[in-house]
Amino acid sequence: MATNPSSSLIEFKSVVAGYTHLTILNELTLDARRGEITLLIGPNGAGKSTVLKTLFGMLTPRSGEVRFNGETINGRTPRQLLAQGMAFVPQGRNLFGSLSVLHNLELGGLQLPRQVLKDRIEEVMQLFPRLLQRIDQRAASLSGGEQKQLEIGRALLVRPEVLLIDEPSIGLAPIVVQDVMNLLKNLAQSGKSVLMVEQNVRTALKYADRALALEMGRLALDQPAAQLLEDPNLNRLFLGGSAKS
């Protein structure tokens, strides 16, 4: 599991993190590279979502070092990290259903000057023309795919260098999942990095560049996604068998 520091955008070095009395990440060391889709996989409880929350400042590591762009970010708040170029789309529905599409987008850029925010919203609208048609509609009235587009669009308002996305396919029809994955692929091709947690492993591997498998809060496997997709042990690995065997 050698890492190349020159191309690493995100680095975890012996990170221990968890919730109150529960330790989830056990001296986890991993990295995610620039311009790639890095897929985090592993059984339930392996610590995939905890990696994203720790990275985005929603959990503070008990020990170890989290680095972003070569800078230690332990203890930084989500707002500081957004300003540094990191955006997070958490698991499930993350919109404010009572607000309109436009107002949901505005929330993603509260810290931006008014004119900049307006320009960025126009940018996002060009990326997601379906949202433009529904700009004044309540977010709760959008379809599942449109809601996911809106979540991603909102995250892109701050022009992040890296997008952290947790289970983007949850609750979406297969055809919509493909759209979302293509969108993430396009983002990576445009130079942004994506760190994705996804249970729909086979689909996600088709779009990812690299896969990191977690087990009990440790990195168990680091392989090119295409190679892992061909691995006959993939199902066993994902369902919780040892990745090292």
Binding site: M58, R79, L82, N94, F96, S98, L99, H103, L107, A155
Partner: protein, 322 residues
């Protein structure tokens, strides 16, 4: 005519109707109308904290008490009403920030109890610190102010002052709610964790929702003291805080005109139920219970509740037909 123009027209007609009302009302009627406006200002503040930001507060009457006592004490010390009122608003804002801190740690009914405890403490302070507040004897002969040498001592003149302040306070709140701040408060109410992941500074907005809400209560308190000419701790107890909450909930929590309707009902309905003599509180209470069962979103949610019921009925009919 578009909805926004219709809305504006209705608003102008409403304010004009209020402006001519003193000509048709006797002293008590005008007093009630002025008190209603004072309660609207207070309830607008609570609506921001509870309805828009989704927090719990049972300390609103206490904040109003701070505003009223600040103005009364300052005016007794010879300070002008026009200086005392901004001072009261600033003090309430600061106390609001202070009481916002528990909201960063506890939520729901725990937060309700934390704020309730603060209200109890304030009432004890008003009652026991006789040297400052007059204790249970209160502060008497609080004068109404003058404006550019024109006395506002008359009931109608004071009513117009309160009306002007209410309109300004409502316009300021409308502006705030239409700005990105309004979106941030709604995000905080809907889901603080989601809000944080989008970059909303939930610490700042939580504190500000309490502080601005308390500042509105401070304005209401500052207007209340010269209106009644005499203050003691009793109007600022937990009972009044519950009444403010009732105003917000009955009118429509998180709806701009909710406090207007809610405070009218909480203040005026008991007056109109006087014919029922001893039963009036029972009738009032029962009306509120029934409304909470059938219209939990408040009176202003009537239209959306009926629309929802209709769409459910249509869906059932469609299902039965298949």
């Amino acid at each position: 005519m578009s909805w926004s123009k219709l809305h504006l027209a209705a608003l102008v007609v409403g304010v004009l109707a209020l402006a001519v009302a003193p000509a048709f009302l006797k002293t008590y009627g005008l007093y009630l109308l002025t008190l209603w406006l004072v309660y609207i200002v207070a309830a607008m503040g609570l609506n921001l904290t509870v309805g828009y930001a989704g927090l719990k507060s049972l300390a609103h009457a206490g904040f109003m008490g701070i505003g009223a006592y600040t103005v009364a004490i300052a005016m007794k010390a010879g300070i002008s009403f026009w200086v005392a009122t901004p001072l009261a608003v600033v003090i309430c804002f600061l106390f609001g920030l202070l009481i916002g801190f528990p909201a960063l740690r506890v939520q729901l009914h725990y937060l309700g109890f934390a704020t309730l405890g603060f209200n109890v403490l304030l009432v004890l302070f008003f009652r026991n610190e006789e040297w400052l507040t007059g204790g249970t004897f209160g502060i008497q002969n609080i004068k109404r102010p003058e404006l550019f040498g024109w006395s506002l001592n008359g009931n109608a003149a004071y009513f117009y002052l309160v009306l002007a302040v209410t309109v300004i306070a409502a316009a300021a709140l409308a502006f705030l709610l239409r700005s990105p701040w309004g979106r941030a408060f709604a995000a905080l109410r809907d889901n603080p964790i989601r809000a944080e992941s989008t970059g909303v500074n939930i610490t700042a907005y939580t504190l500000m929702s309490f502080a601005i809400g308390a500042a509105y209560a401070g304005i209401a308190g500052a207007l209340f003291a010269p209106l009644v000419n005499f203050i003691d701790p009793s109007p600022f107890g937990v009972g009044t805080s519950l009444l403010f909450l009732l105003m917000v909930v009955v009118g429509g929590s998180g709806r701009f005109y909710g406090p207007v309707l809610g405070s009218a009902i909480a203040l005026l309905l008991p007056e109109y139920l006087r014919f029922a003599k001893d039963w009036y509180l029972a009738i009032f209470g029962l009306s509120v219970v029934l409304m909470m069962i059938y219209l939990p979103g408040g009176l202003l949610s009537l239209k959306s509740t009926l629309q929802l019921a209709k769409s459910k009925r249509d869906a059932k009919l469609k299902e039965a037909a298949q």
